[in-house]
């Protein structure tokens, strides 16, 4: 097995070890602000019928103009977006019914909501380098300023499914913008084990534990079918990979791979075919793990999932790649 796949096969345990301490600390810090549970959302109507679109923040969102096509396509089902796609959605005139946030990172995630406290470009070059929202890469300060205004304008209309692991900065920003917050616990481990972290957290705050599948995009998909009860789900921006030609410096884990693997850092990447486009995409160990987990979870899900990303590496028996226009036409006829 090559290096990238070997690392990917061990990321389940590694994620727990890296994420659990900070996520649990955030849950404790958020304790007094936790009010409503996401279970209250189960009875609310989100869009018409059983169809939903789940929007992640992969590069195909821009490459395929997916949001503009969704906006113009007259889709009437539920629209669920991850935090990283919120800015792109609002700029395109797509206001999600539900926004999902989970990552406990102390400084980065609040930027997806526009950070009013940002006064100078930070030393962390993540937003100048990331592939998910090109607006931040072009003009970091300008994009943040515009996003603050956009999110403030739409805030009171936005419902956020926020994990107890979210950083207090994200919680504060969402509250200030007038968003309605509904809380959930990330599932950390097997709740049937007596010393389970998930069980302890649930006992402490009474909230349900959601199996997040490694990333907020998968968590949003889980929420859409297991909580909202949607049965026909189209995925957008769920690339879990990079288009051919993407510089390695523009990939999510480039600094980490470079630092860890030195001159061998390129061995950490994995190439995979995209049959929809007839292209070869490449991915890193974390995204590859997300893909494997998604395909495993899709086997158990009580819903039909089609990947309308029109890019990336996520495809399998239970997750066929389908053109967005085809999905929209099909659900419109149903």
């Amino acid at each position: 097995m090559d290096l990238g796949r070997r690392i990917a096969s061990k990321l389940n345990e590694a994620t727990f070890e890296r994420i659990a301490p900070v996520a649990l600390a955030n849950a404790e810090r958020n304790r007094s602000r936790i009010d409503r549970s996401i279970l209250e959302l189960a009875d609310r109507p989100f869009g018409d019928g059983e169809a939903a679109i789940v929007i992640a923040a992969g590069p195909s969102l821009h490459r395929r103009r997916s949001l503009e096509r969704l906006r113009d396509g007259g889709f009437r089902g539920a629209v669920v977006a991850v935090d990283g796609a919120l800015g792109a959605c609002l700029r395109a005139g797509v206001v999600p019914h539900l926004v999902v946030t989970a990552d406990p990172h102390a400084e980065r995630i609040v930027r997806w909501f526009g950070d009013p406290t940002l006064t100078a470009p930070p030393t962390d070059d993540y937003f100048r380098r990331q592939e998910m929202d090109p607006a931040h890469a072009r003009d970091e300060m300008g994009a943040n300023r515009d996003l603050v205004a956009l999110v403030d304008r739409h805030g009171p209309r936005l419902i956020v499914a926020i994990a107890t692991s979210a950083s207090p900065a994200v919680v504060g920003r969402c509250e200030t913008a007038g968003m309605q917050l509904f809380w959930w616990n990330p599932m950390f481990d097997d709740y049937d084990q007596p010393e389970s972290v998930s069980r302890r957290l649930h006992r402490d705050n009474g909230l349900p534990c959601l199996n997040g599948g490694g990333n907020v995009g998968t968590a949003a998909w889980v929420m859409t079918h297991a909580l909202l009860g949607k049965r026909r789900i189209g995925l957008l921006g769920m690339d879990f990979s990079y288009p051919p030609g993407t510089p390695l410096t523009g990939t999510q884990y480039y600094p980490e791979l470079r630092e860890m693997l030195g001159d061998r850092f390129a061995e950490g990447y994995i190439s995979l075919p995209n049959p929809f486009l007839g292209e070869t995409w490449f991915t890193d160990p974390a995204y590859y793990w997300f893909r494997d987990v998604f395909l495993e979870m899709a086997q158990e899900a009580d819903c039909e999932t089609v990947n309308c990303t029109e890019g990336g590496i996520l495809h399998g028996d239970r997750v066929p790649m389908v053109a967005l226009d085809e999905f929209l036409a099909k659900v419109a006829r149903a």
């Binding site: 990321l11 590694a14 990172h105 692991s165 990330p186 997040g212 990333n215 974390a286």
Partner: protein, 67 residues
């Protein structure tokens, strides 16, 4: 090893790093990588999608009742 073997002489024997040593190095290398990579949220295999507590089964899987 090479940093100890400098001089104007040649060894008669060929000194090679053991396969075990190389294996250890690779494992250390991977452990280091794993400490910085990974997801933003955990994944728990075979435990359903949404656990609402004891007495309420996880929902959303094909073979479970909606709680």
């Amino acid at each position: 090893m090479t940093k100890y073997l400098r001089g104007n002489y040649e060894l008669k024997a060929t000194v090679e790093e053991s396969a075990e040593g190389a294996q250890d190095a690779t494992e250390a290398f991977e452990r280091k990588a794993l400490s910085r990579l990974g997801g933003s949220i955990c994944f728990v295999s075979k435990k359903g999608f949404l656990w609402k507590g004891d007495g309420a089964d996880g929902s959303g899987t094909k073979d479970r009742q909606q709680a």
